[in-house]
Amino acid sequence: MIDAVQLAQNLVNGFGLGLIYGLIGIGFCVIYNASGIVNFAQGVFVMLGGMVCHTLLSRLGLPISAAAVLTIPVVAVIGILMEILIVRPMWNRGASTFAIILATLATQMLIEQITLLTLGDQPRTYDSFTAGGPLKLGGVAISYQLFWVLGFGTLMVAGLWLFFTRSRMGRALRACSQNAEAAALLGIPVKRMLLASFALSAALGAIAGILVTPSQITAYNVGTPYGVNGFIAAIIGGFGSASGAVAGGLLLGILQAFAIVAFGAGFKNVAALTVLLIVLLVFPNGIFAGVKSLWARRT
């Protein structure tokens, strides 16, 4: 028999984790929207966000606000280096998108090993941004960190939507993904846009990592599960849509939480992959595009 309080607690936890998956999914969308490339190293930006922030807190004794603000550009620079050293040379030589995607996967493994060698294999975490808590509602405990995740998640989705639809640079990034040659012919510096997309995507991953580390541990190897779940979130929401990625992440996080309560923790990933398979079978372009097209057919 499912315990109602335990279920509610898991759903709250799943909601928080789902938001993080959504934020990681947005990172996938940013690079995909600018280049058509799926960056499988997105998860390491999340890992680096937590690891760099932890290092700044523990080794330099910085307050969390300063450590977080410093971590974001550090990880963004790593994203820029990845674009310059790995992606751009392949792009310039006319490598296929498939080959570049495989290279991003290799880069993920490389960065993980470098992190292991430099920072060690010990899992680590740090305190929530706001001391105290959790907030008790009935028997359900809601950590203050969840509110930080919720607040930043909302801000980032709104900010990115405005960026991609209203700003000159955001539109140019979308133009590059739809037709890079046409974009260049109109004066858009396509290579610079690709670089910007990696910086932005890495920064978004770092923010997700900084936010999630107080409630989940971080370690050199957490990038892969975060990356996989973020990727699934982006696919469920319809690859390329920031709000779709967040909605996909929430759906995934909540379903995983339900699967843990109903079938045990071992079924968490089974639930994620089952959801992915069902969505891909029924709605190949993502759940929201699918529902929209069904709605259009009915009206």
């Binding site: 539109r171 739809q178 037709n179 046409a182 260049a184 012919l185 109109l186």
Partner: protein, 239 residues
């Protein structure tokens, strides 16, 4: 007094795809305010020539724009100078609206909203149908409307030289005639145009000079009004 340099001058421009030389050393000029047409059958190197000028396909040889050597500039820098190309197949951003496509056309204007609005108004005056469909996705428009959008978007960039690769391809004769007539209007207002067409009696009426490409090189260069006196060319291109 020295005469002004041509708007565009190509000196022995050639381009290859791998080991295949699609464009053999080719020289041509377009004067300020002139409309020049390039004709030729499929595979003659017409599209490659435009791609080589815009550096979408790397080439060798010299490209002079208003007397300045621009052979080494990247595609987006050429656009900043005023060399704008409308690709074969239109090259629209299919998941964006008409307005978004047009605004991206004015990317070089920076954040100058006044300039963008003025150019937008000019495009709507030229193609009123685009104004009616301003919030529609470009992919949902007819072929003729998409071609109008492609030309309108190019005009948003403030071109000095407009290059078009087969703008009438796939269009109904009436719509193609409408598009070509608009190009004529633009040329009358002083815009230099380099127009690539496969068979284009309408384009020949507007053009001052014609280059006929064959097997990757210029086979004939002549004033457009003389093409009728060349029996073979007239049979192929005017009928």
């Amino acid at each position: 007094m020295a005469s002004a340099p041509p708007l565009l001058e190509l000196r022995d421009l050639s381009a290859s795809y791998g080991h295949v030389q699609a464009l053999k050393p080719t020289s041509l000029t377009v004067a300020e305010g002139e409309l020049v047409t390039i004709l030729g059958p499929n595979g003659a190197g017409k599209s490659t020539l435009l791609r080589a000028v815009t550096r979408l396909t790397p080439g060798t040889g010299q490209i002079l724009f208003q007397g300045r050597d621009v052979s080494r500039l990247a595609t987006h820098r050429l656009s900043e100078l005023g060399i704008i190309m409308v690709q074969e197949g239109r090259g629209l951003f299919s998941q964006m609206t008409v307005r978004e496509n047009l605004i991206l056309g004015g990317y070089n204007a920076g954040g100058d909203r006044v300039l963008l609005e003025a150019r937008l108004q000019q495009v709507f005056d030229l193609f009123p149908r685009l104004k009616e469909r301003v919030d529609q996705l470009s992919s949902s428009m007819s072929g003729g409307e998409q071609q109008m959008l492609a030309i309108g978007r190019a005009l948003m960039a403030g071109p000095k030289l407009l290059m078009l690769d087969e703008p009438s391809l796939g269009l109904a004769p009436r719509v193609a005639a409408e598009i070509i007539a608009t190009l004529g209007e633009l040329n009358c207002s002083g815009l230099g145009i380099l127009l690539v067409e496969q068979k284009a009696p309408l384009a020949l009426r507007l053009a001052k000079r014609v280059y006929v490409l064959s097997l990757g090189r210029v086979a004939v260069e002549l004033p457009a009004n003389e093409i009728g006196s060349h029996h073979d060319l007239a049979r192929y291109y005017l009928h």
